[in-house]
């Protein structure tokens, strides 16, 4: 009881002292950081779950729950939220389409960074270990395999945690060309 008596005033004072105005988030590397945190933390206890299992709004409520479970910091959990949200569009199937004429062309390297691939995969010695190394994936598995994996990550493994990214056909072609190098 003494401890509770000791803690309560401290907590009360602290809560009132830490009213901090919210800031708008505009960090371009947040998605990549989120992918890394996702790759490092989810599989500590369970299979990493693909983004499409919840909506963006649901993830925003689920992530604080996982923050407490996994001891993630606030910044890390926000980055994971940003990563998961980046893979979700209004089209839940994320069916690949052709690039619209006014969309800027993105290189394979830019796309690999944008989608946070190295959160789970190693490339040139950098990246996570949740998924396989990507350096020789084209020569080992074949271009057709990688193409199909990008279109439908679960086509060869129903338990795959790889998100189904909102990629265009041009995006997929650019990533494959990048992985060939």
């Amino acid at each position: 009881m003494k401890l509770v008596k000791l803690l309560l005033p401290l907590i009360t004072l602290t809560i009132s002292a830490f009213s901090v105005p919210a800031q708008h988030l505009s960090d371009a590397s947040l998605v990549a950081k989120g992918a890394k945190v996702y790759g490092e933390n989810c599989a500590r206890c369970h299979n990493a779950r693909p983004a499409e299992e919840y909506s963006k709004k649901e993830w925003s409520v689920v992530i604080p729950h996982m923050r407490a479970k996994a001891h993630m910091t606030g910044k890390e959990s926000l980055a994971v939220e940003a990563f998961l949200a980046s893979t979700l569009t209004a089209d839940v199937r994320n069916t690949p389409s052709h690039e619209s004429a006014d969309a800027p062309k993105r290189t394979g390297a830019e796309l690999v960074t944008q989608f946070g691939c190295q959160g789970c995969h190693q490339l040139k010695g950098e990246g996570g270990t949740l998924g396989p190394v990507l350096d020789d994936v084209i020569s080992d598995k074949g271009e057709a395999f990688v193409l199909q994996k990008l279109i439908d990550p679960k086509f060869n493994n129903a338990a795959s945690a790889m998100p189904k990214y909102p990629m265009t056909k041009e995006d997929i072609a650019a990533i494959i060309e990048f992985l060939k190098q």
């Binding site: 009881m1 003494k2 401890l3 509770v4 000791l6 803690l7 401290l10 907590i11 602290t14 809560i15 830490f18 901090v20 105005p21 919210a22 800031q23 708008h24 988030l25 790759g39 490092e40 933390n41 599989a43 500590r44 206890c45 369970h46 299979n47 990493a48 779950r49 693909p50 299992e53 919840y54 909506s55 963006k56 709004k57 649901e58 993830w59 925003s60 409520v61 689920v62 604080p64 729950h65 923050r67 407490a68 479970k69 001891h71 910091t73 606030g74 910044k75 926000l78 939220e81 940003a82 949200a85 996570g128 270990t129 949740l130 396989p132 060869n156 493994n157 129903a158 338990a159 795959s160």
Partner: protein
């Protein structure tokens, strides 16, 4: 002294939290929700054709099911509420309901979380994080977490998996050197078992506090993510109705998670002070009062391997599991005595399983388990305790 140390640690953790540079909870342009429902469930067929209870009666095969929704509410960026309710059918087909936890998280700053309510105690890893059926790679629990079925030959070491109180959790990020997780809590504590044989620590579902004394505990872990995490937990509290008997427990847990395999384990022990009285030399008078320790110790190790490492597409969903648990208990250092049913036992449990993953959070498990009690004269000693399981488990 132990309490003082724990109290000091809690105060230190809180003070360090206050000293931490406070960063604003950064708002985002993401869609913000208010309510989400997650959870898990399972249906399990248990074949136990050769199993008998202590009186030699057959134990029937059965099918049991669970549905365990978790209700998550986000009141604000700083306050999050969660509750988990377990609905299950038992071997008799009756429906059972239990509140697993219901609490509020207050995100004090970037690395500190205060939790109040009923919560799963950060004591080891299995009880806090690994027990949900779609996460638990095996169908059953490690031996040191209790029988949970079968003929109950292997009593668990502790019941302190969930309780009501307040906790403070911190994350200390040390960059390339890894990170440290700390959890300290105070909860209502263990209860004394009802009964006329002196009463040990209540191992069943708790009914509330029974004395004025709070229990204290904590876990300190070092993690080198994504592969390693090692934690040490300690718990102490008075459990008797008059608050003069102590129960304490420790746990050392480790986890290694690789791309295709994992190894987990825990070393676990508890000590419950037990009181009694020697036989009086003169009829009608009291004998000498004594307090002796009732100790339980055990460990388990679990290994898993995913067959996708072999590169064959048809093997991708398959995972193999093996787990070995060992437990022993003694009273005042002696194995042989008749003070309590579960006292004085040396037992082990081994589980072999093959899992077929249907989705990242849905799995079909086939497992076989054998439990043995090794010392003669112990309760359930020599009685067959073998089971085969088929379980469909899912997280949602």
């Amino acid at each position: 002294m132990k309490k003082v140390l724990l109290q000091s640690a809690v105060t230190a953790a809180l003070s360090m939290s206050l000293m931490t540079t406070v960063n604003a909870q950064e708002n985002s342009s993401l869609d913000i929700g208010r309510l989400a429902i997650a959870g898990y469930g399972d249906v399990t067929y248990i074949s136990q054709g050769n199993m008998k209870d202590e009186e030699g009666n057959d134990i029937q095969n059965n099918v049991v099911a669970r549905f365990v929704p978790i209700f998550l509410f986000q009141l604000s960026e700083k306050i999050h509420i969660e509750a988990e309710i377990e609905f299950s059918t038992n071997e008799e087909g009756e429906t059972e309901t239990e509140l697993e936890y219901a609490n509020m998280h207050y995100f004090l700053n970037d690395n500190t979380i205060i939790t109040a309510g009923k919560f799963l105690l950060p004591f080891g890893q299995f009880g806090a994080n690994l027990h949900p059926s779609w996460i638990n790679k095996a169908v059953s629990n490690p031996g040191l977490y209790g029988g949970h079925g079968g003929n109950g030959s292997l009593g668990g070491i502790t019941s302190i998996l969930g309780d009501t109180g307040i906790s403070i959790a911190n994350t200390w990020n040390m960059g390339d050197a890894g990170r440290i997780f700390t959890d300290f809590y105070t909860v209502s504590g263990p209860r004394q078992e009802e009964g006329d044989h002196g009463g040990g620590v209540e191992m069943e579902v708790k009914k509330g506090d029974n004395n004025d004394s709070m229990a204290f505990g904590g876990r300190v872990a070092y993690a080198f993510l994504p592969e390693w995490e090692i934690g040490i937990s300690y718990y102490t509290g008075e459990y008797s109705d008059d608050g003069d008997l102590n129960y304490s427990a420790y746990n050392i847990d480790f986890n290694w998670v690789g791309s295709y395999a994992s190894v987990r384990g825990e070393i676990f022990g508890s000590t419950a002070e037990t009181e009694g009285e020697t036989e009086a030399e003169v009829e009608g008078e009291h004998g000498e009062e004594w307090v002796k320790d009732f100790d339980k110790n055990g460990w388990y190790i679990q290994g898993t391997w995913q067959a996708r490492q072999l590169g064959k597409a048809w093997l991708n969903p398959i995972e193999l599991v093996v787990r070995y648990s060992d437990i022993e208990s003694d009273f005042d250092g002696s194995i042989g005595h008749d003070f309590e049913e579960d006292a004085g036992k040396m037992g082990s449990r081994i589980y072999y399983g093959i899992n077929y993953w249907l989705e990242p959070s849905a799995v079909l498990k086939l497992g076989a388990e054998s439990t043995s009690i090794d010392n003669e004269g112990a309760g359930h000693g020599g009685i067959v305790d073998d089971r085969v399981f088929l379980q469909l488990a899912f997280g949602f």
